[in-house]
């Protein structure tokens, strides 16, 4: 098989050939131009490690499918020998199927419904948190963190099938160690100059302050709303309270923000399905 076909070009490409090939490959990738991502700091905050895990899971799935196809072929042909191997799918992507959203310290891939989202997804995007300065304290003396994500960059024809907001919480010790905390995520509906924003509760989780790991909030409906109404995208707010309603400082609750390591940055991830068959533009 390593016969080199006589017409194969084995030499360094000339500049114009290189540009032509780049343009051709970009059009295969469905991209109008080559992206020029700026500021490595921003790159760090868009959860590349999480996405790399997803990529590896997806690549493993494709390799498994290949092997399966070959196995099936062999299995059929071996049938007459009477020992066809069962083509049984192992759990896709090798996820450990932790039944709850509160997961272990390993990269935040261990929720079972992620496996399903990834199965169906044509595309997954993790978004850069656009909030540069944390305002820890609201007008009404409430501790909170803000997050904003620009969902207008989504390629045409892609529909959100699921979206999650993920934030990491470290073990917090000290005076809250044995306390149960309630972490809540809100969608900002309206902002005011001199008073707290109007918000809408999306999801909340009860956790023990001494636990650590990823918190996963389902914000599919909100993401779809923002995609359809970008002007109404005013971001999210996250608050931590004790069970009797006292607002707690993020740091003492162990919530990791932008100042944490790259592998523990908060981020929004959305899963998409192509809502129409995308045809390459005819050149």
């Amino acid at each position: 098989d390593n016969h080199v076909h006589s017409s194969f070009i084995y030499r360094r490409l000339r500049n114009h050939e290189r540009r032509e090939i780049q343009r051709e490959i970009l059009s295969i990738l469905g991209l109008p131009h080559r992206p020029k991502p700026f500021s490595p700091a921003k790159q760090a905050s868009s959860a590349p490690l999480f996405m790399l895990d997803l990529y590896n899971a997806m690549a493993t799935e494709e390799a498994e499918e290949d092997a399966l196809l070959e196995d099936t072929g062999k299995a059929i042909s071996m049938n007459s020998l009477g020992n066809s191997r069962k083509s049984q799918h192992s759990a896709p992507y090798g996820y450990s199927r932790a039944p709850v959203a509160w997961t272990s310290q390993s990269p935040p891939l261990a929720t079972s419904h992620d496996a399903n989202f990834l199965n169906d997804a044509d595309m997954v995007m993790s978004f850069v948190n656009l909030v540069e300065r944390d305002r820890d304290f609201s007008h009404q003396r409430r501790h909170y963190k803000e997050f904003r994500f620009d969902l207008t960059q989504i390629p045409d024809g892609e529909a959100v099938t699921a979206a999650e907001f993920r934030i990491y919480k470290d073990h917090s010790h000290g005076r809250y160690e044995n306390v149960t905390l309630k972490v809540s995520i809100y969608q900002v509906i309206k902002e005011y100059q001199n008073r707290d924003a109007e918000t809408f509760l999306l999801d909340s989780k009860k956790i023990r302050a001494s636990d650590g790991g990823w918190l996963v909030f389902d914000i599919t409906a909100t993401s779809n709303h923002w995609v359809l109404n970008p002007q109404q995208n005013m971001g999210l707010q996250l608050c931590v309270e004790t069970m009797d309603g006292r607002s707690i400082n993020m740091k003492s609750a162990g919530i990791i923000g932008r100042s944490g390591p790259q592998s523990k940055q908060p981020f929004l991830v959305a899963f998409f399905k192509a809502s129409e068959v995308l045809l390459r533009s005819v050149r």
């Binding site: 076909h5 194969f8 080559r34 992206p35 494709e62 997804a121 995007m125 850069v128 960059q153």
Partner: protein, 139 residues
């Protein structure tokens, strides 16, 4: 029925051939047999070579493959020919000037995934279905 009509190998080649090409060495052998039967060939697209490391996180490149080779009579088993290709071959034998031979094309395609940064440094994991040739055959 197409009997005596031989294509002129040099005209057909149209490609720069190393002087000591196999065809000239073999002499009068039947040309179509010398030509490669339809099969899958390796073509590697290297994102690294294209200078795209700053925005493509993974993979470094992918084996794209392409299909090339002859679909001449007789279409035997390893040419992975469709039934239609067999009919096409027979009709070509009858009307060689009007009806083309079957062509060598992909019969199965695979998906690949690409992980990259967009202009705003968001990370995109995209699955491209039917992207890479898995097997070739005569159609």
């Amino acid at each position: 029925a197409t009997g005596g009509k031989r294509k002129n190998p040099t005209r057909n080649k149209g490609r720069s051939q190393p002087k000591t090409s196999q065809a000239s060495r073999i002499g009068d052998q039947n040309i179509s047999e010398q030509k490669q039967a339809c099969k899958k060939h390796e073509l590697y697209v290297s994102f690294r070579e294209l200078g795209w490391q700053d925005w493509i996180i993974a993979p470094e490149g992918y084996a794209a493959f392409y299909c090339d080779g002859e679909c001449s009579f007789p279409l035997n088993a390893h040419m992975n020919a469709t039934n239609h290709a067999i009919v096409q071959t027979l009709v070509h034998l009858m009307f060689p000037d009007n009806v083309p031979k079957p062509c060598c094309a992909p019969t199965k395609l695979n998906a690949i995934s690409v992980l990259y940064f967009d202009d705003s440094s968001n990370v995109i994991l995209k699955k491209y279905r039917n992207m890479v040739v898995r097997s070739c055959g005569c159609h």
